[in-house]
Symmetry: C2
Subunit: 312 residues, 2 copies
């Protein structure tokens, strides 16, 4: 499966779920001459080496990026600025700085001014993941058939964009280039709002006095358990998403709340037709998502049934 490397030296800053999946996919495809990674914790660095998913680890980010053609930030969004300040001087002329964060305008605004002349900034966002975290949670197939959005600044060098784009395609992604602000609005809807709602409903359930925690767990198969998956996502990563995409999140949230009040009113007044119309309308979209290859066609997400509950 190994082809011609797309990148000479790839430096990954952070080796969690996304960083380690990228490392695995790049290694599988022979897409980089060398993969170097750094991570704040010694344990993560040792794990990365032990798993054989990187060629070298460095405790100092500046040492990790020295001589790298492509540097990818794979840490929570709010850590980017300090990291970029600490590596800016070590970036080679012509190097590309990219990332995998879920918010993009913030990356352009905050990192652009910190980079030396001749270093290219190509922010990226692979729309893929699971609720797990850490270097051992990654896998090479994570990006297969998932979209990766790139949001270069207007004056981005075409060859830098082309290289990052080629790498994501080579690890299995479908690449889309778009305006950072538009990305932030679209993802506020398809990713940030769903996470917020999931975190919120799980919080509400934990706090309700009328229903015990044991009952919430026992009867969770009625629908609640679905929400607990994304509400188990990494807290630091998601805190940073909401703090760096505030305006777009507040905007879609206010639409959600407005719609929810209309639904509440329909329930209060017994407007069965309004409920039926909405519930019918929402049915079609899942089929379209399955047809677009972004979801399994199996009922119940393909969850196992009939093994007495000792799944996996």
């Amino acid at each position: 499966m190994a082809g011609k490397p797309i990148v000479g030296r790839l430096a990954l800053i952070g080796i969690g779920l996304i960083g380690s999946s990228l490392a695995r996919a790049v290694k599988r495809g022979g897409l980089a001459g060398e993969i170097v990674c750094t991570a704040r914790s010694a344990r993560s660095r040792e794990t990365a080496l032990r798993l054989g998913i990187v060629d070298r680890v460095e405790s100092d980010p500046a040492a990790a990026v020295a001589g790298a053609d492509l540097v990818v930030l794979c840490t929570p969004l709010q850590s980017y600025e300090a990291i970029t300040k600490s590596i800016a001087g070590a970036l080679a002329p012509g190097a590309i700085l990219s990332d995998v964060g879920s918010v993009k305008q913030h990356v352009l605004d905050s990192l652009g001014p910190l980079l030396p002349e001749g270093v290219h900034l190509v922010p990226g966002h692979p729309i893929a993941g699971t609720e797990e975290s850490g270097p051992e949670a990654g896998f090479a197939e994570l990006f297969d058939n998932r979209w990766c959005v790139l949001t270069p600044a207007e004056d981005c060098a075409p060859e830098a964009l082309a290289k990052v784009s080629a790498l994501w395609e080579a690890v299995g992604s479908r690449v889309e280039v778009m305006d950072a602000r538009h990305h932030d609005r679209a993802l506020a809807l398809t990713s940030h709002l769903p996470h917020l709602i999931a975190y919120n409903i799980v919080g509400t359930a934990s706090d309700l006095e009328a229903v015990t925690a044991q009952e919430v767990i026992k009867y969770s198969a009625g629908g609640f358990r679905d929400f607990t998956r994304i509400a188990a996502s990494d807290p630091t990563m998601w805190r940073d998403v909401f703090l760096t995409n505030r305006e777009a999140v507040l905007e879609v949230l206010s639409r959600f709340t407005e719609d929810l009040f209309a639904l509440q009113r329909a329930i209060r007044w017994g407007d069965g037709d309004a409920l039926f119309d909405l519930f019918t309308r929402t049915r079609a979209i899942r089929r379209q998502i399955v047809e677009a290859g972004q979801e399994t066609a199996a009922p119940d997400f393909g969850r196992p049934h009939g093994d007495g509950g000792a799944d996996e």
Copy 2:
């Protein structure tokens, strides 16, 4: 696997996802001497016969229940009253009337007064399902290790309760007997609110002008697609749930909204600690649900990865 029948003649009113799963599980276990079903559409009745999951079909509900020991309503909640009126005269003395609806106090209140002397009412709710509908969507393993809640009236005959309980246990369920009003409050939280929220967010996404429908579909793997599963559930069934459990749903909904406003405020004012605290607290509950055998331990619900998207 066939044992001693628990029921002589079992009559199922409605043969959709739940009714047909119950038929399959009862047949698998040899738990009834005869399974008769009725359904409003001739097509469903023919399908049930063709699949071999029932022994006999009747177009007239009264004919279906004649001589039955146990009659189970497996239709949307708002159809119960008319059906019960039409079968009441045909119910044998000592027969049990049960159901599988997601709301229980409404069943006691509306059906109790319609039953002739000597017919027992044992409302039930198997907390199991998928987003699919119809007789072909059912499967015998649906109830394995899922809870089934029974909410008999205070004066219910113990032997009637025992028979219904035994049947659900024999099809793989774990049975819990509780007060109908408490059931309705607990399920408003663990099932009805999640469905309402899911329907609402999918509705909001369909209506937002700033993001195209194509973008919603393409970037749904960021979290949104999880919600589309339960938002694809049967519209009639769910309309009836909200209309018959209004007070409890409005109560948990107001708690959800209150909590959501607090979260909104934390985002607006950049209160990262409040976000981090909630996001950390919600992480534990999924692990408990997995440990209780109510959810798969596999990441991402065990969705397939790496097959290029042509799942299943």
